[in-house]
């Protein structure tokens, strides 16, 4: 019997252990999957918006994944930034202050976004120009389809911006 390295009893034990591990793994996977966003939530992952409806100097707010996205068509008297723009004239940024997550307000007379919480300021390109914000407003992933902008998908223009590190 000494040649028998794994006895019948051991084999049954290992087999049962392995089978139980598969069962536990399956249950944990099932539990993990129940916490995934529901289909109706995932359906809101992308939002399509017609940017040609934005008038010069106007800020429209698009709701994307529960976050406000500011779309501003800049006029010539505002600061310009080609590399951070969509089609050179649109500023498309997530309207959440990069300091502590408050929502900045557009001040049309000064042509800046001003955060009511701690006084952070962003220029018309969404770049932080004053106060505690550590970085500019984030640019959401976008893809251009004619006049439409699809938020939540990474198009070539967005990828270019991302490579340059301008989106965050």
């Amino acid at each position: 019997m000494a040649e028998e390295k794994v006895s019948r009893r051991d084999f049954l034990l290992y087999a049962m252990g392995a089978w139980a591990a598969v069962g536990v793994g399956g249950v944990l996977y099932g539990m993990y999957k129940t916490w995934e966003p529901l289909p109706e939530v995932k359906a809101q992952a992308t939002v399509t918006f017609d940017i040609s409806t934005v008038q010069p100097g106007e800020v429209k707010v698009v709701n994307w994944r529960g976050k406000p996205v500011f779309v501003l068509k800049r006029t010539s008297d505002m600061v310009q930034c080609k590399d951070r723009s969509v089609e050179d004239v649109y500023t498309v940024v997530i309207g959440i202050c990069t300091h502590l997550g408050c929502i900045p307000n557009w001040e049309a007379d000064k042509k800046i976004w001003h955060c009511p919480c701690h006084g952070g300021e962003y220029d018309a390109c969404g770049r932080n120009i004053f106060g505690p914000p550590p970085r500019p407003l984030d640019v959401p992933p976008f893809k251009l389809e004619g006049n439409n902008i699809v938020l939540g998908e990474e198009g070539p223009e967005y990828k270019k911006m991302k490579e340059k590190g301008l989106t965050v």
Binding site: Y32, W35, E36, P37, L38, V41, Q44, A45, R65, G66, K67, P68, L100, G101, C102, I103, P116, C117, H118, P132, P134
Partner: protein
């Protein structure tokens, strides 16, 4: 007594009572700080009972939750306000008694061998209680509820690689939403309390094995405690404990009836709005110290986050940080000083946590955070010094 005999034959109840109560001895040289363990059990019972009654009218749905709490329970249900205030004040006071219980353990070295398991299970209980408080805080679905959950879940975003996906997974949505509310509800009402009960059982079992520590930190055998140096847990210890409980309950219900507002943030009486952040977001008082450590490293978000996680868990490792042969702080002059600096620092951080993190406050928060960690890092050094001293004295 016939019924007891009948029960004893089937469940050996007399033996259980002996082991758990009448022949479980507590040292005589303890002070009133040793009454806080039972007080925690009392507050836990109050929270369970008041929680069950809130559960009868609460609706875990993002459209219904706010009104079910602030209208149905507060205005329509007879005495509903009483149960809500009891639950809210109970949660707050739970942390007060927990902190005193833990500070007692730290001062008198109750975490040291052979009580490591008592300390670790106790620490797990503290973490579980924090999770219970955090998940429960979302349920009224007010502005502070909402933004506390939003902010804390956002912290997970910083975990390398999986962070952003993990946050969405935890929330069940891109923002805190209905899915988050219902899962926090399930955790708060079933899963976490169940774990709390399991770990409380292990905690108490472990204490029954190694016995309570005492003021002098001198180990007493069961025989010594039986013959003069101790008292039986039941009825002698508990008869004293009942007095402490009575005084505590006067204080507790004074808070419930007259001072409940400290546990009810006015901002939370505005319904949750995901498009409007309150000007200042801050946690309840019992998390302020840890929150201040998070903000204390104001120059680096990542460093702040690491410090925050570390500050929550570092005390769990006390038995291995402090290896001094002297157990009780009563007989450790340097440790005594360090301990009181640590307590003062904890209070200091708690106060700072409520103030805006700007200018001088930011630097004070940074300094306070460093002192917090300095206490734990000083312990291995102090242990070495004291080891030498003890060896030299012999």
């Amino acid at each position: 007594m016939k019924f007891m005999d009948w029960l004893d034959e089937r469940l050996a109840v007399r033996q259980v009572i002996k082991v758990m109560l009448t022949e479980y001895y507590v040292p005589k040289n303890i002070n009133f700080l040793w009454s806080f363990g039972v007080l925690i059990m009392l507050v836990f019972a109050i929270l369970v009972v008041s929680g069950i009654f809130l559960l009868m009218y609460y609706k875990p749905d993002s459209h219904l939750a706010f009104d079910s709490v602030n209208k149905t329970i507060m205005m329509d249900v007879e005495y509903g306000w009483l149960f809500r205030h009891t639950h809210a004040v109970g949660a707050s006071i739970m942390f007060l008694v927990l902190y005193i219980h833990m500070a007692r353990g730290i001062y008198y070295g109750s975490f040291k061998a052979p009580r490591e398991i008592v300390w670790i299970t106790g620490y797990i209980l503290f973490i579980l209680m924090s999770a219970t408080a955090f998940t429960g805080y979302l349920l009224p679905w007010g502005q502070m509820s909402y933004w506390a959950a939003q902010t804390i879940t956002t912290l997970f975003e910083k975990i390398p690689f999986i962070g952003p996906d993990l946050v969405v997974w935890i929330r069940g949505n891109y923002i805190v939403e209905d899915a988050t509310l219902t899962r926090f509800f399930a955790l708060h009402v079933v899963f976490l309390p169940l774990l709390l009960i399991v770990f409380t059982a292990i905690h108490l079992y472990a204490v029954r094995i190694v016995g309570s520590n005492n003021e002098d930190g001198v180990e007493l055998t069961k025989e010594e405690k039986k013959h003069g140096k101790g008292i039986p847990f039941w009825p002698v210890f508990m008869s004293k404990e009942f007095f402490v409980m009575s005084v505590f309950l006067i204080f507790f219900f004074y808070l419930v009836f007259y001072q409940y507002k400290f546990a009810m943030d006015p901002i939370n009486f505005t319904p949750a709005n995901y498009l409007q952040t309150p000007t200042h977001i801050y946690p309840e008082w019992y998390f302020l110290a840890f929150y201040e450590v998070l903000r204390g490293f104001f120059f680096s978000q990542n460093l702040g986050l690491i410090a925050f996680v570390l500050s929550m868990f570092i005390a769990a490792f006390l038995p291995w940080l402090d290896t001094s042969p002297i157990r009780s702080g009563k007989h450790r002059p340097i440790y005594k000083i360090l301990f009181w600096i640590f307590i003062a620092d904890f209070v200091f951080l708690t106060i700072l946590g409520k103030l805006p993190p700007t200018g001088l406050y930011a630097w004070l928060g940074f300094a306070g955070s460093l002192v917090y960690f300095a206490f734990f890092l000083a312990l291995p050094i102090l242990s070495k010094i004291e080891k030498k001293k003890v060896a030299g004295g012999r």
